[in-house]
Symmetry: C2
DNA sequence: CGAATATTCCAACGAATATTAGAATATTGC
DNA sequence: GCAATATTCTAATATTCGTTGGAATATTCG
């Protein structure tokens, strides 16, 4: 084997990862799995695709070793094969946000731009949350919250906010987050809260972004 | 536009980046461009492909905004559109190295495994280099060295080592680096130096890895 | 065991992609 | 303006990929 053949082989292997992340649906599946492990039909339902198609995409992700499957009774649960996979998704999205004008305008135009956080903002958010000056709410489904959430955040799933809104203090700032910058749940939560007179805002970070920034999550 | 359509659009955009990095040749081109800007025929020659094909791949990378082209007289120089692109390449390769068994065995088997560095090792290498306890040599072509190199490293291109070997101190440890873990130049340099009685070793880092680890480069 | 559920496998189609060859374009230097 | 050089564009082909429908597999529950 000469140098050229060796190199071809090495880049070929890395391209397997590239190919795995070259499909929009697979990226969506990865982002969903970055929240918590999920079954095939849960993934299919959330991504709005047929179960067979979801299964096919998951097979590709599995072949690239980005996800692992585990049978649990009648269901098969998929999960990311490591934190680094989640970090790769964040990196891809960040590069896209940075360079693709089309994505920038899409995100600006469609829903109110989520607050991008820098290291300092993240730090100050945490100290305010620790002191109780702000209430950080995680509006994702409870299973995702349980799988890992921002420190000091309390679970308040989007579809329970209406009923449970009185649990929130009316005199404090409320900060909502969900699955990340592409997720619209926190925006809906903020609208809902503001309609009820709360001071609410959202942040762009989800747990994947938080972790990719080198900050710890809490698992309950 | 409903939520599903918006999401489809967003993931579609990110997948443009994914598609761009789904080809082995494009990854190789990205790694080459992470060293320094280069012309189309230089890239084609280094990657071992036809100029037309290189041009086609570069067009794809350009459409994904990962590279930018600038005409310089008769030549057109391509360069990465940002540091984050280089970081994306490193991330992809790292994920591949971590999860793909095939890549692990390929790297172990073919040439002696390069030393993976952790934060502590990098720090100690720099302080030894600063004190002059080790001599760090950059064995890439001079243009790449000029475009950015490790602090305290001196340029000693692979194909000049034979002639210039006496410039190196025989009583000190020599540490060679090149374009990264896939590049074989530092391994060749080490073999050459050891044959001449030098205490030489290589590290896996190139400038992209160094930078991705959050450490600064020097430009001359 | 047999029905129900969850998931995967297989086959097939059209769409997108990589690669190659040949023509066309843009710039430089005479 | 013309020849030389560097690069891109166009067209053509083989291959791969995404998606869908129907059949097959594995597990649980009665």
């Amino acid at each position: 084997m000469n140098k050229r053949q060796i190199k071809d082989l090495l880049y070929e292997e890395v391209a397997r990862i590239g190919k795995a992340v070259s499909s929009p649906k697979r990226l969506e599946l990865l982002e969903l799995l970055a929240q918590s492990e999920k079954t095939v039909d849960a993934l299919a339902a959330e991504a709005g695709i047929d179960i067979k198609l979801a299964s096919a995409h998951l097979k590709v992700l599995k072949a690239a070793r980005l996800v692992v499957a585990q049978r649990d009774g009648r269901f098969i649960a998929y999960r990311l094969s490591g934190e680094d996979v989640s970090a790769l998704w964040v990196k891809l999205r960040t590069v896209a946000e940075e360079h693709l004008v089309e994505l920038k305008v899409a995100m600006d135009g469609i829903f109110s731009a989520p607050e991008k956080l820098d290291a300092e903002t993240r730090r100050s958010l945490m100290s305010k949350a620790r002191r109780g000056d702000v209430v950080v709410i995680d509006v994702r489904p409870t299973a995702e919250y349980a799988s890992g959430h921002l420190p000091f955040a309390r679970s308040m799933p989007l579809d329970e906010i209406r009923q449970r809104i009185k649990e929130l203090p009316a005199d404090k700032d409320i900060v909502a987050y969900c699955r990340g910058p592409f997720c619209m749940m926190s925006a809906e939560a903020v609208t809902l809260l503001q309609e009820h007179g709360y001071r609410a805002q959202k942040i762009a970070d989800g747990t994947a972004e938080w972790q990719a920034a080198g900050l710890p999550l809490t698992t309950s």
